[in-house]
Amino acid sequence: MNQAITAPPTVAVDHLRLAYGNKPVLDNLRWQLQPGQVVGLLGRNGAGKTSLLESLLGLRDGTTGTVRLFGQPLDRLDDATRARIGYAPQHSDLFEWMTPAQLLAYFKSFYPRWNDAKVDALLDRWAIDREMPIGKLSGGEQQRLSIIRALGHEPDLLVLDEPVASLDPAGRRDFLQELVEQVIVRGTTVIFSTHILSDLERVAFHVGFLSGGRIIVQAPLDELMEGTRSLVGPQQALQQAARTRGWQVLGESPLADGRARMLARAGSDAPPSSLAGIEVSSVTLEDLFMGLTR
């Protein structure tokens, strides 16, 4: 435990900026992930999730700011540190000219550690033909193979960019089961972006919302859900209540007749279950997503 506290953050991002032409994608972004954290990264389409994940791994040019992985600057990662990173990109149709067996043998040849038993078990469980060219596999099979490749060397940091986008419900359940039973239990730090909120609720212990080029909120999922309320009432009354009670306003949208809907997160106090003249209700992750990434 003490070791976990003294260990450097697995990911430390400071003042990260990235722009495509004149359009800023990441704007002075600061982010830290501690060892063992499992973070679901949420954001609208085009919010820059993929850009952020690729920038974390040094795959994007034109970024400014600093990124450190396991305490090492990104541009000076040693081989031992690189061996601790696993990445499954959004595009899984890669290495189409190889067979799964060739691909896994190829990647195995680079890593000092490779869990053959786990790889074989996953190939069997997910019924992937080892000798069929990857180009002939279905999109879901390619994505599963991409995940197996990323897990094979048992990384300490696993970056998954929309890992379940092409999977059917059964495939998603299998993948999440694997993630919980085998990966998270080992203390692996996991970042994964997804649009499927129900999956995120089943796996992620933390959620991060990316909007406007920044991580606007990152918190443990349970804490965020329990501490956040949807408030509907007169706009001025809502703002007054938020100010006096020290709530963090996560989002506010006007309604008719001078009323408004506010997403507010209580501080250390328990959130109110009722307020005079204000409708108070608990929120779902979807409410949070809609409110925070507007």
Binding site: H91, E96, W97, Y106, K136
Partner: protein, 488 residues
Amino acid sequence: MSAAFNGLPQWRQLQPVLRSAWRALRILRKWTTLLLILAIGVPLLTMTIDDLPPQRVLRVLAHLMTAVALAVALCVWTVFAFNLLRQNDARSAALVPGHVRTLRLAMVGAAFGLAIVCAALGLWPAWPFVPTLLAVMALCAATVCAMRWTWLWLAFPVAIVLALSAARAGALAPLRWVWHEMPLGLTAAVLSSAVLALRAVVFTGHAGHATSQGQLALIAASYQGRVSHARQNFFVGFDRGWASMTLRLYGAWLRRTLARPGRSVGARLALGAGPQAHWSGVLSNVTFGVALTLLLLAVCELLPEPTGFGLRSGMVATFAMVSLQASLQIPPALWGSRREQALLLLLPGAPRGAALNRWLFVRLAATQLASTLCQLIAVALVVRALDADAALVRVATISLAATSLTPLLVLWLWRDWSRAGAPSGIPFGAMFGAMLVAGGLAAAWVLWLERPWYELLALTLLVLAPLAWWRWQRLSRWPAAWPVGRLG
């Protein structure tokens, strides 16, 4: 959509049709460039060694220019046909059905238009108008059929060679008799056959096109630097043999490399960029080019003189073109595998920054030089095997001299890959242009300066050495080469 479309004036309907043809041209840019340059370059190279009497020059020039115009027209037609096949397929179609109908009508109109233009141009070298028109129509129909059934690409050259031989041997006399006795009947037969062939491809868009769509998609993918197994079953004839030979050699090398844990990271990393960017893929394609040229040379041996000599000379001159393979193949292949390169950069031991640039520099140089060496050996062996006469030896020497200049093309491979863009036709056209210039220089070296080809090779390497040093120095300042062009 359809009602709105029907309300548009006819000329407005043609706009999206022409835009779709432009997109098809962009997909096929490399192929059309290759056809154009071969159509122009090979006769020119052949002419450089032909001692023409001055009075024949104008006449030969007229034939040549008309033949080139015909080749250009066929290239344009091929692009049209490719575009139509794309529009017939739901996955690649960019036009609404109404536009496709317009495109089909435009295709038939273009076939007649091209035939009339070519027949009119043929009047300059005194080609008969109607037979030329019919021949162009037949060629247009044949081209379309060959895009639908790709094995015909192999059958047609053989048929043309056989027809040329038959013409020389007087075996086409019955056809001439039919032409003289029943010109209208023969005209009707050719035109109706052409229309039927066009109808089979142009006017239908049913599921029967799935095979040709698969083949075309694979061809387009290979020209964009990707190798896919997805539709390999559709790949027939030489194309299939070519693709599977490349993959087989690459696969064998992959197995061999992975079986030896001591192999360097660089050797393993190079395999990750795919067979088209790997030396095994380049050399297997060079081998294929050499084999194809040898096959055509063997066919030329069967032809009577002077046709046989002319074609043999052209084929030997074409050998030099095969050495362009590395420079043509590697840039789009590296572009096509840039997402894979991003993953490779995360692997332990993978070089980064300047180290990556230097590693790639050496790899690409070795591949280009090996490709050139294969060409030199092939031409030397062919000349020896042919027991050629003095004129053919002279052509072969020019070819060797032109090949000796190709190591300079490695400069094209030693560039700032981080800024490379998507494959484009312009550099390929420029490269073929450079090859034509190289052919001219080589001809001057051999014919006027009367120097041996290997001196030109030595001179080339001498020039290349300081250029390589200059580039090597710049490598450390350039951004990392991978992922090529960066992810977007």
